[in-house]
Assembly symmetry: C2
Homo-oligomer: 259 residues x 2
């Protein structure tokens, strides 16, 4: 492959440390263009912007890499990158992240990082989302950059199946403690959530969402198991959410109306 064209997007916004880590990975391999939100867009899932006009503007160029920011969501970043910024050019790879915080288990469904990667696969562009199990703004991305380069090189050289994105999650451990890579499936689980009640200066109630992931799985082939045992988890992701097994169980609904 000649120098590939790589679009970098994220959900943590243009000031995130994880963005610079991803650009460092991307620059190793090709021409890089960055399109990211103008503020944090964590947990915006696959939201798209339909009720306000979208803006996208170049805000800096560093070492030949143009950085654009937009008022849109992570999914909008992917669309704006493809349709407006890189209009008419073939994108070889979309890299999303590096996210501050893991996107394992059902966090995948809430994740803006992975939604942007999934959006790329709708146009059959290979896409890799990378996340680190550390929410802090000054998280250490050293291991992510080191192994991220090796993973991206492999993806560019050997390819991944069509219409599939990769959900890559790094454990929060130093580079030397990473045990290797596991290809995993999505861990069964859910977020146990509470609504913390507070009172504002006017005496009115308001709420903050809080919670933690409950793992109901713990099997060795799951993404959470890999992270807990200091492996990098790589999960291939597809978009069919049909519960095939359940189709026969709700057949009674169809039978009611056979004509």
């Amino acid at each position: 492959m000649s120098k590939p064209l790589i679009l970098v997007v994220n959900d943590d916004g243009y000031e995130a440390k994880g963005l610079e880590a991803m650009v460092e990975i991307a620059k190793t391999f090709g021409e890089v263009v960055v399109v990211v939100p103008d503020r944090t867009q964590s947990a915006t899932s696959h939201a798209i912007t339909m009720n306000v006009p979208l803006r996208v503007n170049l805000y800096k160029t560093i070492d030949g890499v143009p950085y654009y920011r937009t008022n849109g969501t992570p999914t909008d970043c992917m669309k704006l990158g493809e349709k407006v910024v890189l209009k008419g050019r073939q994108i070889d790879l979309v890299l999303s992240g590096i996210n501050h915080g893991s996107n394992s288990s059902v966090s995948l469904l809430y994740s803006g990082t992975m939604a942007a990667a999934i959006e790329a696969t709708f146009d059959n562009i290979p896409a890799v989302g990378i996340s680190l199990q550390d929410y802090s703004a000054d998280a250490d991305f050293t291991a992510c950059v080191h192994y991220g380069k090796i993973i991206v090189r492999q993806v560019l050289e050997k390819g991944i199946p069509p219409y599939i994105s990769l959900n890559v999650n790094f454990p929060k451990v130093p580079l030397e403690d990473i045990k290797g890579i596991k290809i995993t499936r999505q861990t069964k689980g859910y977020w146990h959530e509470d609504m913390e009640e507070h009172i504002d200066a006017m005496g009115r109630k308001y709420y903050w969402l809080s919670g933690y992931l409950v793992n109901t799985d713990n099997k060795e082939d799951s993404c959470e198991w890999a992270l807990q045992h200091n492996y990098i988890s790589i999960q291939p992701v597809q978009v069919d959410m049909t519960a095939y097994e359940a189709m026969k169980d709700i057949k009674f609904l169809e039978d009611e109306f056979k004509r």
Copy 2:
């Protein structure tokens, strides 16, 4: 079952005509509580609110049904309904919608309506999202209400498998033209999208997202086929997005790091 407790949520907001249609269905069967966004939240997917405090307030009570609205997303509506409004009470069914516009094929991934239903299943609450293939504000929900009552009655009487939600889509046809119900799988397809360029009063460019669904499937067991042939589509939905078939295809990534 004694009188079931039904939580009604939506993504079109508290003024949507589809909300009243859903309340009409729900009131037939049980005690109804409504928790909906204070503005349109279409295409907000599974977004949750983490950076601003959430508010939830009773804004009216009609025929004994309390209506609450919130600044949150559809998924937040489900969480606020469960944790704040109905704190400590067992919800028997979540009904989401009725959505103005279909949620067939990959629209499922962008849908706030279905995200709220899916969120309910994380707590193993049965959930049904209903959508009508008509985006207009004054869409005719007559057929949805008629058949919706029959579907909800069946769901309450016979149950649906655990951790499964139903994605119910109605074709835009009069009641008498509905041919029946098909249990379907998610249609393969994608949104072909463009970014319409406009110029504001200051001479600056802005963009509106536009697009249409491209159906790459057309098989008889798909949701789009059902809608196109005037059937109601009912699709069981689960949350594991792992591409199991692709796991072997990316095994090379794991092998690189075997220790």
